[in-house]
C-alpha cells in the first residue's frame, strides 16, 4: 500500500533558514495494516503524515502509493488521489460549522464528479453510531460524536487508506476510547489505517508502531494490538517483513 524510501522534507523559514523536519525515512506499510506513528512533539510526525496523505511533496526521496510514485504529482492529481484513496481524520475534527452532520459527510462526494449519494452518507452515519444525528448541526454534537462524524466523512468515498493525526488529542478518555474502537473496527473490515499519536495508550490499539525521533525512524516494531485475529494480523506480519 505505502512504500517510502529515503524520504526527506526540509521547510524553509521566513528568514530563509532551512528546517529539516524529516531527514531520511524509509518503511513499507502493507494493505490492511493498522500502524501508529509515534514520537515527541516536533519530531516530524505530522510532516510525514502530510506526505503520506498527498497534501505535501517530499524534498527528496520517493513515495509510492498503491504502486504509483506520487512524489512528483501535480497538485491537481494529488487532489484526486486524496479524494479517492485517502480519508483524513484531524485532531480538531475540522467539521464545517453551521452545517449538519450529513452535509459534512457528503463533502468528499462533491469532488468526485459523480452524484452525491445522500443515502450512503446516512448509512455511514448509522454505521458510526450517529444514525439519529444526521440532521443535527455539528455544533450540537459532543466532541466524540463530532470525531465520529469526521470519520464517517473520511469513509464517504470508500478510500482504502485512512490517515488520522492525533484523532483523540482533543477528546476525553471515554470519547477517545470509543473513537479508537471505531477505528479498530474499520481496520477489521480491511482498511489500512495510519495514525499519528504521541500517546502510548493509543498506540497500543495498533499492530505496529513506527517511532520517529528528530526526523528519523528510531524504531519500527510490531505491537500486540487489542483486536486479536482478523485479516489484519497476517497482513501486519507480512507488511513488516516486506
Amino acid at each position: 500500500m505505502i512504500e517510502v524510501s529515503h524520504l526527506a522534507r526540509t521547510y524553509t523559514r521566513g528568514d530563509g533558514t532551512p528546517v529539516p523536519a524529516l531527514r531520511d525515512v524509509s518503511f513499507t506499510i502493507g494493505k490492511g495494516e493498522f500502524v501508529t506513528i509515534r514520537g515527541a512533539s516536533g519530531s516530524g510526525k505530522s510532516s510525514l503524515l502530510n506526505i503520506l496523505g498527498c497534501l505535501d511533496t517530499p524534498t527528496s526521496g520517493s513515495y509510492r502509493l498503491d504502486g504509483e510514485d506520487v512524489s512528483g504529482y501535480t497538485d491537481q492529481r494529488r487532489s484526486h488521489i486524496r479524494n479517492r484513496k485517502i480519508g483524513f481524520v484531524f485532531q480538531s475534527f475540522n467539521l464545517l460549522p453551521r452545517t449538519t452532520a450529513a452535509e459534512n459527510v457528503e463533502i468528499p462526494a462533491l469532488y468526485t464528479g459523480g452524484p452525491v449519494d445522500r443515502e450512503r452518507a446516512l448509512a455511514i452515519l448509522g454505521k458510526v453510531g450517529l444514525g439519529g444525528r444526521a440532521e443535527h448541526y455539528v455544533t450540537e454534537l459532543s466532541g466524540g460524536e463530532q470525531q465520529r462524524v469526521a470519520i464517517a466523512r473520511a469513509l464517504m468515498n470508500d478510500p482504502p487508506l485512512l490517515l488520522a493525526d492525533e484523532p483523540t488529542g482533543n477528546l476525553d478518555s471515554a470519547a477517545g476510547e470509543s473513537v479508537m474502537k471505531l477505528l479498530t473496527e474499520l481496520h477489521r473490515e480491511g482498511r489500512t489505517i495510519v495514525l499519528v499519536t504521541h500517546d502510548e495508550g493509543v498506540a497500543a490499539y495498533a499492530h505496529r508502531e513506527i517511532l520517529i525521533r528528530d526526523g528519523l525512524v528510531a524504531a519500527d516494531r510490531p505491537q500486540p494490538g487489542r483486536d486479536t485475529g482478523g485479516p489484519a494480523a497476517a497482513a501486519s506480519a507480512s507488511g513488516a517483513g516486506a
Binding site: N50, S79, R82, F90, Y111
Partner: protein, 411 residues
C-alpha cells in the same frame, strides 16, 4: 485544470448552501452590490431628468424667439434714475418691427404690472400681463380649461382673463374659476380660462403665478399707458436669429435716435444663450454623474471584495479541510467566485429595481420628469457584474492558492 461539468453542478448546489450558511455576510454582499447599481442608476436618471427638463423648457420657449425689453440705460447712471419706468417702446416701434423684420412669423407686445387680484374672499398681488393671442402660441402654452382670448377680444378691450395655474389654485382653491368674477385693481373681469401648469421657466420667472389679459384691456382699462414692457418676436427660421436681432437693434436705435456708441433704452435678448448655458450645465452634470455612478459601482465592488476577502480569511480552515478531502484548487476558486457572483448578481438585479424606485422618488422630490434610462441601467448592471467578477476573483484566487497544510494549521 479541467473540472467536469457534473462536478460544477454539485459544487454550485453546495455553494448555494454556503450562501445560506453565511447569510449575514451574504446579505451584506447583496446590499453592497444593490446599492452600487441603485446609486448609479438613480444618479444617471436624475441627471437625465434634469436634462429633459431643460430640453422641455427649450421646446416651450422656442429657439426662434427674440425678446425686446424696454430697459433703463444703466450705463448713463448720472441721468437715468433706477426704477424709473421706461416708456419709449411704443406702438410705432412695434408696427415698424412687424413691417420690416425679415422672417417674422408671430409677435406679441406685452405690458406687465403687479396688481391686486380679488376673487370672493381671496386676494393677492400678482403680475398681470397684457398680451396678444399669439403670445400663447409663441410660448407653446396649452390651456388646462376654458378658452383663449382672440384678436377680437383685444380689439374690443374685453375684460376677460386667463389665469396661471398657481393663481387659479390660490384664488379659487379646488373650485373651477371658469366664468367666475375676478377683480383686478377693482376692475371686474371674467375668467375665461386656466393655463396648463408650467413650472419654473428658464429665465426663473414663475409663469404659473401670473394673470394674462388682452393687451389693449391692460393698457387702457387697467394701466392707462401707451407703451409696452416688451415685445416677443418669433421668427420662421432659427437660423435668422442673429440677423433679425441686429436688424431690430438698428431699427429701434434709429427710431429712438440713439447712436450706436451710446447705451440703448431697450435690449434685444435671445434666449438661446441662456438655453445653451443651461444645456451645457445639464450635460456637464450628466457627465459628472456618470463618473460618480461608475465610482459608486467600483466602491460597491470593493465592498464585495472586502467581504469576500474576510470570508476567505475566516474560512481558511474550511478551505484546508476541503483541499484535504479532495477539492482541487480550481474547485476552491469556483466555490468562492461562484458564491460571490451569485450574491453580487442577486444584489445587482435588486439594485436595478431599487434604482427604479429611487429614481421615481428623486424625480418627484426634485420636480423633474421621471426618466428611466433602460440602456444605461443595463450598462450599470453589466458593469457591476463585470467589476464584481474581477473583484470577487481576487480573493477566490487567493483561496485557491492557499497551501492546504498551512490552511489546515490556521486557527
Amino acid at each position: 485544470m479541467q473540472v467536469s461539468w457534473v462536478t460544477w453542478r454539485y459544487l454550485a448546489a453546495g455553494c448555494l448552501r454556503q450562501v445560506w450558511r453565511f447569510r449575514l455576510r451574504s446579505a451584506l454582499v447583496i446590499c453592497c452590490a444593490a446599492l452600487g447599481v441603485a446609486g448609479a442608476v438613480t444618479s444617471v436618471n436624475y441627471a437625465s431628468g434634469g436634462r429633459a427638463l431643460v430640453l422641455e423648457k427649450i421646446r416651450r420657449l422656442g429657439t426662434n424667439v427674440l425678446v425686446i425689453n424696454a430697459e433703463q440705460s444703466r450705463a448713463v447712471a448720472g441721468r437715468a434714475r433706477t426704477g424709473q419706468i421706461v416708456t419709449t417702446l411704443q406702438a410705432g416701434d412695434y408696427q415698424a418691427l412687424q413691417r420690416e423684420v425679415a422672417g417674422l412669423r408671430r409677435s406679441s407686445a406685452v405690458i406687465a404690472a403687479s396688481l391686486r387680484l380679488k376673487a370672493g374672499f381671496s386676494s393677492k398681488v400678482s403680475p398681470v400681463l397684457g398680451v396678444e393671442p399669439d403670445f400663447f402660441r409663441i410660448k407653446s402654452w396649452p390651456l388646462a380649461a376654458g378658452e383663449y382670448f382672440g384678436a377680437e377680444d383685444v380689439k374690443r378691450s374685453v375684460r376677460i382673463a386667463l389665469l396661471g395655474h398657481g393663481v387659479a389654485r390660490d384664488l379659487f382653491g379646488g373650485e373651477s374659476p371658469l366664468g367666475q368674477r375676478l377683480f383686478i385693481n377693482r376692475v371686474p373681469f371674467e375668467v375665461a380660462g386656466v393655463l396648463a401648469e408650467r413650472g419654473q421657466g428658464i429665465d426663473a420667472t414663475n409663469e404659473d403665478q401670473q394673470v394674462y389679459v388682452p393687451l389693449s384691456t391692460a393698457m387702457r382699462r387697467l394701466l392707462n399707458v401707451d407703451h409696452y414692457s416688451s415685445i416677443l418676436v418669433e421668427l420662421g427660421n432659427p437660423g435668422e436669429m442673429a440677423g433679425a436681432a441686429a436688424q431690430i437693434e438698428e431699427l429701434l436705435r434709429l427710431r429712438h435716435r440713439i447712436s450706436e456708441f451710446r447705451p440703448a433704452d431697450f435690449k434685444v435678448g435671445n434666449q438661446v444663450e441662456l438655453i445653451q448655458t443651461q444645456l451645457a450645465a445639464a450635460n456637464r452634470l450628466g457627465f459628472l454623474v456618470r463618473w460618480i455612478g461608475l465610482s459608486g459601482l467600483v466602491v460597491a465592488g470593493l465592498g464585495v471584495l472586502a467581504i469576500a476577502w474576510i470570508a476567505v480569511r475566516d474560512r481558511t480552515t474550511e478551505i484546508g479541510t476541503r483541499r484535504a478531502l479532495g477539492a482541487t484548487a480550481p474547485d476552491v476558486f469556483f466555490q468562492f467566485a461562484f458564491e460571490a457572483m451569485v450574491l453580487a448578481s442577486i444584489g445587482a438585479t435588486l439594485g436595478l429595481g431599487l434604482g427604479w424606485i429611487a429614481s421615481r422618488i428623486t424625480a418627484q422630490q426634485a420636480a423633474l420628469p421621471f426618466i428611466f434610462e433602460t440602456g444605461n441601467a443595463l450598462l450599470a448592471l453589466a458593469m457591476a457584474l463585470l467589476l464584481n467578477l474581477v473583484f470577487a476573483s481576487w480573493p477566490a484566487i487567493r483561496a485557491a492558492r492557499l497551501d492546504p497544510i498551512r490552511a489546515l494549521k490556521h486557527e
